[in-house]
């Protein structure tokens, strides 16, 4: 115990500034960024989204070709101007015609560039949103078990990062058509103008190709390193912001500063390396351009001197040379874009291909609002993994207007019952009936409208209190909302908020306490006005004052409805008309409080443990109670 008191710290430790057990920020290795360059399967899937806009795409490609043709034509026109339009002594009759040709060329150029960019830009945006919409809509229907397994953050990066890289891909792929045409165009025009000179000039081209081939993988590695160290440093900064209270409470500022310094320094280093790689190409391209021009001047100039070549041709060559490294540069960049897009496309199709387990039967009926409100389980067998059933041959019936409490230790299958009523999952055997109909014969939409559900973790959306209570019942009036809030006892604290019902809730209702959020979700269920209420009581401790409000609200909420409550609090359980006790997926007993107490089985034992809530009971205590003979 005296050892525990040594509050003075060994100061030498502070000098060794990087302690063994400290890190800042976290970093997950990012997902595969680059995929195959070309994957026909993915291209086909993406094409399905582009198809509706194919006319625009064809138009864009045509415009790109026209644009490129004009890029090629302009130096040629200049050549004609020099050789034929302005020879001293020719009288200059040709010049006006040549100028007219130039005017036509630049007008076409203008129109083509306008068309190309508008079409490509807008189609890419439209496709981007179409893909995102398709994914989002699909995610509304995929099975909940898949959603449970998948982090929201991961899905969001599909909906954003991956979709964006598809947009980028779309834009560049049309442009690379232009680049390739330009490259070949320049080569063809040069060789036609003067084969030998053309060949000589083009000799610089393979050099650049080879240099870039060596450069690209290294450069890309350095760019990725820079990108990665950057996100590491940013992650550490975000952590400092989110965890600032813990940091200050634990006095970790100095240590963290040192560690953060390491990360930012690493980031500086990789960025400088990346900058070196990026810039090293500049003198190479410039030197090659200079070399090509020098060659044209020496060789071409000599031939002009010998009158074997028109001076205009030489000028045209000089103009082409200034252009012809551009397509190579952008083509190599587009190569990376393609690879990235293929990896993204792969992930997008994965999401789009997640099977929808539960869909309406072709002849599904609408569950009408005047059904009786009964719920029945008939020999239900169900498991998330069919080999390990969570519910084994469970049968019970909840009569219209009755409130039934589902009770049992963790893992007994209570939550699964609740999900099955709503047909979040399909049973493996037996059937679940609502209002006398098998839920598989009903439309999911009408089923949802007749069953209101309150989850353990109240989930609120960003928006006003009013919108949150009204939720999808957009036709509910402000009065309806207020009446519901009054009924559940939420009105008072809502009115104390700065703008009452129009107060905007923070992220997930962050500015409300858990109990208050619970009450709002009660009000939401009340507005939904369904025949059946399914409720999963919150387990977390709520302060006693709010707890009291919640208990009262619950009574209001269940009035005139069929209620199925996963109950944790004894108060709730005792109020229920009937209690169903589940254990290990089997129904072990049912009846009201008095009956079950007389039964002296699981319920009585749990109750006798004297905990204020069944969920407080540690597992070993339950095990103990179960093995001990009843008292």
């Amino acid at each position: 115990m005296t050892e525990q008191l040594e509050t003075t710290r060994d100061d030498s430790r502070d000098e060794e500034r990087r302690p063994p057990r400290a890190v800042v920020g976290s970093h997950r290795i990012e997902e595969e960024i680059f995929g195959k360059v070309f994957d026909t399967n993915i291209i086909r899937r993406i094409w399905a989204f582009v198809e509706p806009y194919r006319r625009k795409i064809y138009g864009a490609v045509a415009a790109v070709l026209a644009f490129t043709a004009m890029q090629l034509a302009i130096p040629l026109i200049i050549r004609y101007a020099i050789d034929h339009g302005m020879k001293p002594g020719t009288g200059g009759h040709a010049l006006p015609y040549i100028m007219a040709a130039f005017l036509v060329a630049i007008l076409v150029n203008f129109a083509a560039s306008y068309l190309q960019e508008t079409l490509v830009g807008s189609v890419a945006e439209d496709v981007l949103f179409d893909i995102r919409r398709a994914m989002f809509a699909h995610l509304q229907r995929v099975s909940l078990s898949w959603m449970d397994k998948t982090e929201v953050g991961r899905l969001m990066s599909r909906l954003q990062g991956d979709v964006n890289s598809m947009q980028e891909f779309l834009e560049t792929s049309v442009l690379s058509v232009g680049d390739i045409t330009l490259l070949f165009g320049i080569i063809v025009v040069m060789l036609t103008l003067d084969f030998k000179l053309g060949l000589l000039t083009l000799s610089a081209l393979p050099v650049l190709f080879v240099v870039r081939l060596f450069w690209l993988p290294r450069a890309r590695k350095s760019f990725m390193a820079a990108h990665e160290t950057n996100s590491i440093a940013n992650g550490a900064l975000a952590e400092a912001i989110h965890g600032v209270r813990a940091v200050q409470g634990m006095e970790r500022q100095s240590v963290n500063f040192t560690l953060f310094d390491d990360k930012v320094r690493a980031n500086l280093k990789t960025h400088l390396t990346a900058a070196r790689y990026a810039q090293v190409m500049v003198p190479i391209v410039d030197s090659l351009t200079g070399l090509a021009m020098a060659l044209v001047i020496v060789v071409g100039g000599a031939r002009v001197l010998n009158q074997a070549l028109d001076v205009g041709v030489m000028v045209a060559f000089l103009f082409y040379i200034q252009r012809f490294f551009d397509p190579i540069r952008s083509l190599t960049l587009q190569y990376s874009v393609m690879q990235r897009a293929m990896a993204s496309g792969q992930r997008l199709t994965e999401v789009l291909d997640v099977p929808v387990d539960i869909s309406d039967a072709p002849d599904a009926k609408t569950l009408s609002a005047d059904m009786d409100g009964s719920v029945e389980f008939r020999d239900v067998v169900f498991g998330y993994n069919p080999r390990h059933p969570v519910l084994k041959q469970v049968s019970f019936r909840v009569n219209p207007g009755e409130t039934v409490a589902l009770v049992g230790p963790t893992g007994s299958g209570k939550s699964s019952c609740m999900s099955l009523i709503h047909r979040f999952y399909d049973v493996q055997q037996g059937s679940v009936l609502v209002g006398g109909h098998d839920v598989r014969d009903l439309t999911q939409d009408s089923l949802g409208r007749q069953i209101a559900m309150v989850l353990q973790e109240p989930f609120l959306f960003t928006g006003t209190v009013l919108d949150n209570i009204r939720y999808h019942k957009t036709d509910a009036t402000r009065d309806d909302v207020m009446r519901a809030a009054q009924a559940v006892g939420a009105h008072d604290f809502i009115m104390r908020m700065p703008d009452g019902y129009d107060s905007v809730l923070g992220q997930r209702g962050g500015n409300l306490s858990l109990g208050q959020r619970q009450l709002i979700s009660f009000a939401r269920a009340l507005v939904a006005d369904a025949k059946i209420l399914v409720l999963d009581e919150a387990t977390a401790n709520i302060d006693s004052y709010t707890e009291m409000l919640i208990q009262k609200a619950l009574v209001k909420l269940l009035e005139g409805r069929t209620g199925l409550v996963i109950a944790h609090r004894l108060a709730t359980i005792r109020e229920a008309d009937r209690i169903i006790v589940l254990q290990n997926g089997e129904l072990v007993e049912s009846g009201n409080h008095q009956e079950l107490m007389k039964n002296e089985k699981l319920y009585a034992k749990l109750y006798d443990l004297n905990y204020s809530s069944f969920d407080d009971i540690p597992e070993d205590v339950i095990d103990d109670a179960m093995t001990r003979p009843a008292t």
């Binding site: 400290a22 997950r28 929201v152 200050q248 500086l268 001197l305 089923l447 949802g448």
Partner: protein, 611 residues
């Protein structure tokens, strides 16, 4: 409970006035020149590179003229050959030099930016770490991240995209204009005619694009929120069969973003096409007028060629004028926000000569403590609070929501400063001692504890990263966490937190109790930090800690009475005042508010909760 959030001033800085903008840019410039040789190299290289750049058209013109000279029967063939060779070599040399100096220019201007970014990041990080709770209460963490990421980026890019580019453009356009105009005034004017138009269009467009970009970001963040909430709350969505409703929400948000995205494409396209067109029109005019001049012998083909080449060279930088203007605008708004953060005063900090806290007897005293959250017109949360706690004592604090329980807990480690009265530890006012020494003596187990994304071991040792393994395990045992951890496949090396294994609320709270135990504090405060732990486990934690309780003050804030029934003294808080105080038995006997609360929590008919 934390204070309501007053609108944060940082987020509200929009466009700064000209004077303010200028002073911000000056400040960034001064900071950039704190790397004097790199910055000077960047700017020096820019000047040299543009000089070589400007030499190229002349050389091309000369080359063309050399060939023409022979044709018109001027000089000798051999001399012309030599001249061509010389020109070619010069051209090659100029190209190589231009390339090399451009490399130097680009590399060092980026390097200056990265070094600047490095320093700013550290400064930003340190500031954020040190700013007190009241600041963080008032700031949305997302806004703070925006400042630390995006605004910092805008400032970092200033040197290379605004300043160096400005030098480059000034030299290129200025020198180019001089060379062209001095060669042929009329043709020079024609050749330069596109410059003002393109420069102006490009600037206007970039600024408009920036404005729409900001707006687009806003709309996209709405869309992001809609999607994120939908996916996070998918059970609610399904439970209410609200897919249609959600899709409609998505559609609205998506539509509003896509419309703006189209608008952006429109703005961009209209201008790039117009700019290219004006360039070609100018080129056509040069060709025409120049051609006529060549015909009349007033000008050589070489000069015309050099004019045309000049124009080609100028075209790119002139188009980038807009980017430069944009970079200036961005740096001044981003800088305004970033510097506002960096210049903030830290409300809670050490006095210059503050002594270390010396804990001797271990007595904590609240003397007429008054507290109100910093936002204006806030009422006092705590009023005239006076009590004393000695080493070995446990004080329980209870009361209705909003009575100031958590606030009280936050005052002891000086997360906030009292607005009246004082808090002392062994007679030393906690505001007069070194903050670090105070916080090492006071540990607060927070209500919602933040777990860092790292191993369980590192999380427990967060406050004492030098700790020995045995200590970590002992703390973990006391917090009833050890057995759970051993059951995990990777034990203490299991990564938890946002990106790791997710722990239940109770497990998180147990971990944060272990974390606090590691500090071996003289004062240990539990701020409602056992709410998610079941009663049985809580009892075991308490009995494990009883061993150390003799050496410290324990303060337990809770609403579950079983958590604090055994305290030496229980304070019942209401509206910031102590209304009842005494032991559990005394307060029950008093029959007041505490008794009422007790009755509420205990099942009717049950005599007492098992202690």
């Amino acid at each position: 409970m934390r204070a309501a959030r007053p609108s944060a001033s940082l987020a509200l800085v929009k466009a700064a006035g000209w004077g303010k903008g200028f002073s911000i840019l000056t400040r960034i410039t001064v900071m950039a020149f704190r790397h004097p040789w790199q910055a000077s190299l960047a700017i020096g290289a820019t000047l040299v590179a543009s000089a070589f750049q400007l030499a190229i058209p002349r050389l091309l013109g000369q080359a063309v003229d050399s060939t023409q000279g022979v044709l018109s029967g001027g000089s000798e063939g051999q001399a012309a050959q030599d001249a061509l060779l010389t020109t070619a070599l010069l051209l090659l040399g100029a190209s190589v030099m231009r390339g090399l100096f451009t490399l130097v220019q680009n590399y060092f201007s980026e390097a200056v930016g990265h070094h600047l970014g490095y320093r700013l990041r550290l400064a930003c990080y340190e500031k954020i770490q040190r700013l007190s709770f009241s600041f963080h209460d008032s700031m949305h963490s997302g806004d703070l991240i925006t400042v630390g990421l995006l605004d910092l980026e805008g400032v970092r890019m200033y040197f290379s995209t605004a300043l160096v580019r400005m030098v480059l453009l000034t030299v290129l356009i200025g020198m180019g204009a001089y060379l062209l105009l001095s060669t042929d005034l009329l043709l020079g004017l024609l050749a330069l005619s596109f410059v003002p138009f393109v420069g102006w269009r490009s600037s206007v467009t970039q600024l408009r694009l920036r404005a729409t970009w900001l707006e687009l970001q806003e709309r996209l963040s709405v869309l992001t929120r809609v999607m994120e909430e939908n996916l996070g709350g998918i059970r609610v969505v399904r439970a209410f069969a609200a897919q249609e409703h959600e899709l409609a929400k998505f559609e609205t948000a998506s539509q509003s973003a896509v419309e703006l995205a189209h608008q952006r494409v429109g703005i961009r396209v209209a201008n790039t096409s117009a700019m290219t067109f004006s360039f070609f029109v100018a080129m056509g005019l040069v060709l025409w007028v120049g051609g006529t001049k060549v015909m009349s012998g007033e000008m050589t083909v070489g000069t015309l060629t050099s004019f045309l080449t000049f124009m080609t060279i100028l075209q790119m930088p002139v188009r980038q004028l807009g980017l430069m203007v944009n970079a200036f605008a961005r740096a001044s708004t981003c800088g305004a926000r970033l510097f506002e953060l960096l210049d903030l005063d830290i409300a809670i900090k050490d006095d210059a000569a503050a002594p270390e806290l010396k804990v001797t007897e271990g007595t904590l005293r609240f003397e007429n403590v008054r507290f109100a959250y910093p936002a204006a017109d806030r009422e006092d949360v705590l009023v005239d609070l006076t009590f004393e706690a000695r080493r070995g004592e446990t004080i329980g604090i209870v009361g209705p929501p909003g009575s100031g329980k958590s606030t009280l807990a936050h005052l002891i480690p000086r997360f906030y400063d009292v607005t009246g009265g004082r808090i002392t530890l062994d007679g030393q006012d906690i505001r007069k001692v070194r903050l670090q020494s105070l916080r090492r003596s006071v540990a607060v187990v927070q209500q919602d504890s933040f777990l860092f994304t790292t191993t369980i071991e590192n999380n427990i040792a967060y406050g004492d990263p030098w700790a020995k393994e045995a200590h970590i395990e002992r703390a973990s045992e006391s917090a009833q966490l050890h057995n759970y951890v051993l059951g995990l496949p990777s034990g203490y090396d299991t990564v938890v937190g946002e990106r790791g294994v997710s722990l239940s609320g109770g497990q998180r709270q147990r971990l944060s109790i272990a974390r606090a135990l590691m500090l071996r504090p003289a004062v240990m405060v539990f701020d409602d930090s056992t709410a998610a732990i079941d009663a049985g486990t809580e009892q075991r934690i308490r009995s494990a800690m009883r061993r150390y309780a003799a050496d410290r003050i324990t303060i337990v804030v809770a609403h579950r009475l079983s958590s604090l029934m055994n305290a030496d003294r229980i304070l019942f808080l209401e509206a910031g005042r102590i209304v009842e105080s005494g032991t559990h038995a005394e307060l029950l006997a008093l029959g007041g508010r505490y008794k009422a609360l007790y009755d509420l929590q205990v099942r009717p008919g049950d005599e007492a909760l098992s202690a």
